[in-house]
């Protein structure tokens, strides 16, 4: 089975058939061994690398490989699923979603206000702490999805910024 894997900007083809591994069509002396359900040991050119591998449920074609505290991302390019879904929301519009369940304490801006990146939009309380939810880009607040006192769940729309 030939697989196309993207790491950052680069794309590789990898073919694994039993013990034989071809990278971009050339054989490589790589020794792969599973050391646990999601723990893979790779000995390549005398170097031992151990990865803990996971997939994110939200993005199943994306593979997270963690080694010595650093996590790298790899994408499996599935020929049957070349078409990529568009990014959420109309272009240039930012949907500010609740990062977790909590209660809206105060709104710091009104609908229509011009905000700059990093500016606090509202204050959410969760786990006894009050946290400012900030704009991740500059723009105009199209609408506020919540009012003070509202309980929100993760993913709820807090505000839309254009």
């Amino acid at each position: 089975m030939i697989q196309r894997i993207r790491i950052g900007e680069r794309e590789f083809t990898v073919q694994i058939e039993g013990e034989s591994i071809l990278l971009d069509g050339a054989p490589v002396a790589a020794d792969l061994r599973w050391a646990g359900p999601n723990r893979l040991s790779l000995v390549l050119g005398g170097l031992s690398r151990t990865y803990t591998i996971e997939t994110d449920a939200a993005a199943p074609e994306e593979i997270l490989l963690t080694r010595r505290g650093a996590t790298a991302r790899a994408q499996v390019i599935d020929p049957r699923r070349q078409r990529r879904g568009p990014a959420a929301g109309p272009a240039g519009r930012q949907r500010l979603l609740a990062p977790m369940a909590g209660r809206v304490i105060r709104c710091l801006v009104d609908a229509g206000a011009e905000v700059s990146q990093g500016q606090g939009i509202l204050v959410l309380e969760a786990m006894k702490m009050q946290n400012e939810v900030r704009a991740s880009k500059s723009g105009r607040v199209l609408k506020l999805g919540v009012a003070p006192g509202a309980a929100v769940s993760p993913g709820d729309l807090l505000a839309e910024i254009e």
């Binding site: 697989q3 894997i5 646990g36 893979l40 593979i63 080694r67 790899a74 990062p99 969760a126 786990m127």
Partner: protein, 495 residues
């Protein structure tokens, strides 16, 4: 000695106290809320009593429920841990009335220390240097503005009943006062059930240094040196270490003596902590007393070789301390990282959820006091601290290298955490040089200086192996990594 101790807490500290109980041959009783039925402290303790309720106010903060549980279990002592009811004098008082020993100071001493304004008055009487500030609790934002104008900005608003950074707001000028006052009182109210705040002049770049004290019921009161806790975010300590890179032996002695004097004047017993701010000229100022065991007590344990929870229990049982000041020697260097479930990409917002994967560091000089397990959930009702990673080294450089190594070994997924922040800190030359103050984290570069990019080829091979293992083979559904692994384990077992 006690037969049975009820632990009025949850998370890593409940587990840490339960471990001490087991070492001492004392039965431990866990209490739990509705969301904590399968939490590690409940699984570990010898006995368990339900409190009902989900929110802290209906469970771990519900004094009547805690006391009912203690009576029902037949506990002869109660350890409050930190947070929750640990600094509420009503708890030691309720214990006294129920004939249950409270493992901590008396209600009277706690009351004296618990009111930050009263503690400041006590320190003033003892001649301990103080930051200028309001002597009384503030009645309104307007009064706060008047006091602040007299003191000069910046000022710090603080919860009179507080601790742990909750209800604290730095105020740079009069325009910020109204909203800061509202935020501080609201947070103090929600965290401590008391919205009273006061204010202090704020130093521009102080270090936070605190002294651990230990006193028995026979008049012996000593200090166990300092911890530096300057690495803070939103007034919450993130890293603590002992000794402080800033202190000289002479300063340690003066600060230790000041701490002991304040505690002696308050009739303080058991473990407590006296917090100070240290300015750039190495002047120190009394901040407050934490009348309980601190989160960061393990760094003191590692450098002094004393077990503070064992000592607390022995003191509460009436045993003499059996230690003089000259018996205390600090050896080597210890550092602690507080691992929180929080999302660094979302302004460090708490991140609740299920721990999918957890791999702990190990090896020389590494201690972890962890309150979660793989497969367990992090409820959003409580403080999001997951674990404390503590290392010991012969000196600060070795301890820091060891922490860096342990952080590399640490794997956690399912909830977002601040592990990446620690990896950056332990690669930062400023931190490694010990140049710290409470604004250190604001200066920390967002990205590591030289990101060590993983080579593409090995990653691609590993990713392909994983992807191939995920795809069901046409004939038998074999080939998943779990299947490979099980087969390898079977073969190994047959050998």
């Amino acid at each position: 000695m006690f037969r049975k101790i009820l632990i009025a807490n949850r998370g890593e500290i409940a587990l840490r106290i339960a471990r001490a109980c087991r070492e001492l041959g004392i039965a431990s009783v866990a209490v739990y809320s509705e969301v904590d039925r399968a939490a590690p402290h409940v699984l570990y303790c010898d006995e368990a009593q339900p409190l009902g309720g989900r929110a802290a106010a209906e469970s771990y903060l519900a004094l009547e429920k805690i006391m009912t549980a203690a009576r029902r279990a037949g506990a002869d002592a109660l350890h409050p841990g930190y947070g929750f009811l640990s600094e509420n004098p009503a708890l030691p008082e309720a214990c006294r009335q129920a004939g249950i020993a409270f493992i901590g100071p008396s209600a009277a001493a706690m009351e004296r220390m618990g009111s930050k304004t009263a503690a400041r008055a006590l320190a003033r009487e003892q001649g301990v240097p103080l930051l200028p500030g309001s002597r009384q609790a503030l009645a309104s934002a307007r009064e706060a503005e008047r006091e602040a104008a007299a003191l000069g900005y910046p000022v710090m608003l603080k919860a009179a009943a507080g601790g742990g950074g909750k209800g604290m707001q730095l105020v740079g000028g009069p325009a910020e006062m109204e909203s800061a006052y509202a935020l501080a009182t609201a947070e103090a109210q929600s965290a401590f059930g008391d919205g009273t705040v006061y204010l202090e002049k704020a130093l521009t770049a102080p270090r936070h240094v605190e002294i651990q004290v230990l006193g028995d019921h026979h008049g012996q009161l000593i200090h166990l040196g300092e911890r530096e806790c300057s690495v803070q975010r939103r007034h919450q300590k993130v890293i603590e270490e002992s000794p402080s890179p800033a202190l000289t032996a002479e300063m340690r002695q003066r600060m230790g003596e000041a701490a002991v004097a304040v505690c002696r004047a308050a009739g303080y017993t058991n473990a407590g902590t006296v917090e100070f701010l240290v300015d750039a000229e190495r002047n120190f100022y009394f901040l407050e007393v934490n009348a309980r065991l601190q989160v960061e007590h393990p760094v003191t344990e590692l450098v002094t070789g004393l077990d503070l929870v064992h000592r607390q229990i022995a003191i509460a049982a009436g045993q003499p301390l059996g230690l003089r000041q000259e018996d205390i020697h600090m050896r080597g260097h210890a550092i602690e990282c507080r691992i929180y479930a929080e999302d660094p990409e979302q302004n460090f917002f708490p991140s609740a959820g299920t721990i999918r994967h957890l791999r702990h560091p190990a090896g020389p000089g590494v201690r972890e006091d962890c309150g979660v397990e793989a497969g367990g959930t992090v409820p959003l009702e409580y403080d999001p601290m997951l674990s404390k990673l503590i290392v010991w080294g012969e000196n600060r450089a070795q301890a820091a290298a060891r922490m860096r190594r342990a952080l590399e070994e640490y794997e956690l997924s399912g909830v977002r955490s601040n592990l990446g922040l620690f990896r950056r800190i332990f690669a930062d030359p400023e931190f490694l040089a010990g140049r710290l103050d409470t604004h250190y984290l604001e200066r920390l570069p967002a990205q590591p200086a030289a990101p060590a990019a993983e080579e593409g080829a090995p990653l691609a091979i590993a990713a392909a192996a994983w992807a191939a293992a995920q795809t069901p083979a046409p004939a038998a559904r074999e080939g998943g990594p779990a299947e490979h692994w099980r087969r390898a384990a079977r073969e190994a077992g047959l050998r």
